[in-house]
């Protein structure tokens, strides 16, 4: 197993923390993992992205130019990373604010309206967990138990009471993701 | 009376501190450094803290202070003595740590290190020799050079329009919360030497109690740099330096 993932969106959408939870989940299953963020002022209000690699083997480059999966949360990131998905790979995007949807036909394109759903659920902070749920539906590379353990590891203890809410959001994401092509 | 009679212990009226070793000093005759070194040696001996003192020498005439004083010493880069002393004191809080710095070292190149060490209230003693000139490098302008005073780099006298004003840094240090004891002394006559020694002792005693930084400025002469005899220098200092840098305690809490 080897999965090379880019998650990209606005700073503040939980891009980096989603990547972190994924990485921790991989760690729980004994995989090699790497988590390489874009860093610096661009995190604040600008675009943010993180490359997450889960692998059974030693990970070579933590920085990549093509990905098995791109999880895209805004138009700028879609413009930047649509072409970086490997042929046959997956592109997942949140439909909110997307004016020019993806056009590639040699990849699997999925849409998840997590932003709308999180507003509907009155749980804006669950947004990234809904997206993560969608991803895990189409690429079940880690088990739900590992994700819960990953959440426990990556969240400070004072936030552990939020874990059931996050688990629910992941399940919602699994339900609402839809294939577009 | 023979020499043998003269050197009998009961006839002893003065001896130099054993902390001050026998290395001949490189200081010019009339220089204030030798006197201040002697006072430090006496204070260390009287407090019986030779094993617990770590000195930090500057860049300037006193760069070789460690050659004369018999305890552990570190030689700092120019101006960095308060940072070096911070590193020592933070890691060896049970020791007495002091810096010995000239005006260029403390008030020009090391201004930031001086102010921040004082502002953090490092429990160190800063001994500041202010003679208004760079002695070691050959008599150039110092931050504390008086207006109109001639030096190698202001040969027509310090012009405030070009060089700015004499920096009274000790007055600035008084305002910092971290300083506990700030005083200005001199060593040009017996009375002033006694007072300066008391001030140095107070600084060392303070540092044991952990209540902040002690700054002891010694307004000093540099007869070579000033191009005067030692006696003329002392008079010139009283007439010109003291009005700009008045002697006395500035802060004692």
């Amino acid at each position: 197993m080897k999965e090379e993932i880019i998650i990209a969106g606005f700073g503040g959408q939980g891009v980096l923390s989603m990547g972190k939870i994924l990485a921790y989940s991989g760690l729980m299953e004994g995989h090699e993992v790497s988590w390489m963020p874009s860093y610096g002022p661009e995190q604040r209000g600008g675009t943010a992205n993180v490359t997450v690699i889960l692998s059974e083997q030693r990970i070579s480059s933590p920085i990549l130019n093509s990905f098995d999966t791109a999880i895209i949360l805004n138009q700028q990131s879609l413009n930047k990373f649509e072409s970086a998905v490997k042929p046959g790979g997956n592109l997942i995007y949140d439909g909110y604010g997307i004016t020019t949807p993806p056009t590639r036909t040699d990849i699997n394109v999925y849409r998840i309206d997590a932003m709308d759903k999180s507003v509907e659920m009155n749980a804006a902070k669950s947004f990234n967990m809904i997206v993560l749920g969608g991803f895990l539906k189409i690429s079940p590379i880690v088990k739900m138990e590992s994700v819960i353990l990953g959440l426990k590891k990556s969240l400070p203890e004072r936030h552990h009471h939020l874990i059931p809410m996050n688990e629910n959001a992941i399940k919602v994401g699994m339900d609402i993701i839809q294939k577009m092509n | 009376m023979t020499t043998k009679d003269i050197i009998k212990p009961e006839n002893l009226v003065y001896t130099k501190s054993r902390i001050l070793n026998d290395t001949p000093m490189h200081y010019c005759p009339g220089c204030s450094h030798g006197v201040v070194h002697k006072l430090i040696a006496e204070v260390v001996e009287e407090m019986d803290i030779q094993e617990d003192v770590i000195g930090v020498a500057p860049v300037g005439c006193a760069v070789f202070a460690y050659n004369y004083l018999d305890f552990d010493f570190q030689e700092a880069a120019h101006g960095r003595a308060p940072a070096v002393a911070t590193g020592i004191k933070r890691l060896m809080p049970e020791k007495y740590v002091f810096t010995y710095q000239g005006d260029g070292d403390l008030a020009a190149i090391g201004t930031a290190e001086t102010i921040h060490a004082c502002n953090r209230g490092e429990n160190i003693v800063i001994i500041f020799i202010n003679n208004g000139i760079y002695g070691m490098t050959g008599g150039q302008m110092a931050p504390t050079t008086l207006e109109g005073m001639k030096t190698a780099t202001c040969p027509y006298g310090r012009d405030t329009a070009i060089n700015g004003y004499p920096l009274n840094i000790t007055d600035l240090l008084v305002k910092l919360e971290g300083t506990r004891y700030v005083t200005r002394q001199s060593v040009h006559n017996s009375a002033s030497v006694r007072k300066a020694k008391n001030a140095i002792r107070k600084g060392f005693e303070n540092s044991k109690e952990g209540k902040g930084t002690s700054v002891i400025e010694i307004v000093s002469t540099c007869n070579s740099g000033w191009k005067m005899t030692p006696d003329q220098s002392n008079k010139w200092m009283v007439e010109n330096m003291f009005p700009a840098y008045p002697i006395g305690d500035l802060k004692d809490i």
Partner: protein, 361 residues
């Protein structure tokens, strides 16, 4: 008990490893992309557990001089910064080398010159291995390529620094500092006791007992002949380090016709490039210098002299700095080419393979 596998950033790993390896003091000033080192230390509050001192200084200049003071007392002390801040520290590093004090300096490099960029770079290679400050001196330079090595090299740097009474540097970059990977932290080691310091560093200023002469920490000798002797002693020490402390990693070199030479995060990119090239039938290998000074000159010499190797490609995130040391080692026997990206851009594995083809195939 075996240590737990943790997931953390390279910067965080350095902080935790420092506490665990018995570091006595850290002095630093914030700068991206390495501020997590001091942030992690301040969060951990090691002064409450191991007694390690952590202090935010007023500048990088002050921080390195605090290191000088602490190191002069025989303590295990360190500082960290990123490129512009390490430039400021060069004065202190020269004095530390001149006074032969052991310490650890971490440089998590960013792009320059000047204020440059906060993005990763390896453009401080020359500064780290050729001197940086004034005078003839050398700093032992270790280049980690993983978060695990950030942790491991913290303790190793201190060991080497004390073994040779010489400053040691971890030369990382924004990728290694900011990336999270698995790491097993080193076990806790007690800080040095007073008597251990007196035994290990009898030259240190820990307070003069009646039984010995004063110890003086200085780099000053006004007499030229004394200063020459001092320098000759340094040089003898540097030759000893070059003889004993070269570290490197070889990947797929046995049958290689072409060799990449890369350190730190570039070496990670090159590992992937080796995989890609081998898929295409190109016999490519990778030499990863772990110590940049001392440089693995003899190793590169031996490959250059073998009949198999047709060329070397130095891959660096700079305009070609380490390549000079590769060329000195190869000494004209085969061709040595350069590929790199500048200004904070990390080369991709594909670019490396394309560059190799363009230069050699």
């Amino acid at each position: 008990m075996s240590e737990e596998i943790k997931l953390m950033k390279g910067n965080e790993a350095i902080a935790h490893a420092a506490i665990r390896c018995g570091c006595d003091g850290y002095f630093g000033y914030p700068i991206t992309p390495q501020s997590e080192i001091m942030e992690t230390l301040m969060d951990e509050q090691p002064w409450k557990t191991t007694g390690m001192v952590v202090l935010q200084a007023e500048s990088e200049v002050a921080a390195i001089n605090m290191v000088y003071g602490g190191a002069g007392c025989g303590k295990k002390v360190m500082t960290s910064s990123s490129s512009p801040g390490v430039s400021l520290k060069q004065e202190g590093i020269s004095y530390i080398a001149g006074a032969e004090l052991p310490c650890l300096i971490v440089n998590v490099m960013r792009g320059g010159p000047g204020l440059g960029t906060i993005q990763p770079s390896q453009a401080d290679y020359f500064q780290a291995v050729k001197g940086g400050g004034h005078g003839d001196y050398k700093v032992i330079v270790l280049a980690p390529a993983s978060v695990q090595e950030m942790a491991d090299f913290t303790a190793l740097s201190f060991d080497l620094a004390f073994k040779y009474s010489n400053p040691a540097m971890i030369l990382a970059d924004g990728v290694i500092g900011q990336m999270m990977e698995k790491v097993v932290l080193p076990p806790f080691v007690d800080r040095l006791t007073k008597s251990e310091i007196e035994k290990q560093s009898p030259w240190a200023t820990y307070g003069k007992p009646a039984s010995r002469k004063p110890n003086v920490i200085t780099s000053l000798e006004l007499e030229s002949k004394d200063m020459e002797q001092r320098n000759l002693k340094f040089q003898a020490k540097y030759r000893e380090i070059e003889e004993n402390e070269v570290r490197y990693e070889e990947l797929a070199c046995e049958d290689a016709e072409y060799l990449l030479v890369a350190f730190g995060s570039s070496a990670r990119v090159c590992q992937k490039a080796v995989e890609l090239a081998r898929e295409q039938g190109i016999k490519l290998g990778l030499i990863r210098p772990i110590t940049l000074w001392p440089f693995p000159t003899k190793l590169i010499q031996s490959y250059a002299s073998s009949s198999k190797v047709k060329g070397f490609l130095a891959v660096e995130m700079n305009a070609g700095q380490m390549i000079e040391d590769v060329r000195l080692a190869v000494n004209g026997k085969v061709s040595v080419e350069y590929f790199g990206r500048l200004g904070g851009i990390v080369p991709t594995p594909d670019e490396v393979v394309e560059a190799l083809k363009a230069k050699f195939l």
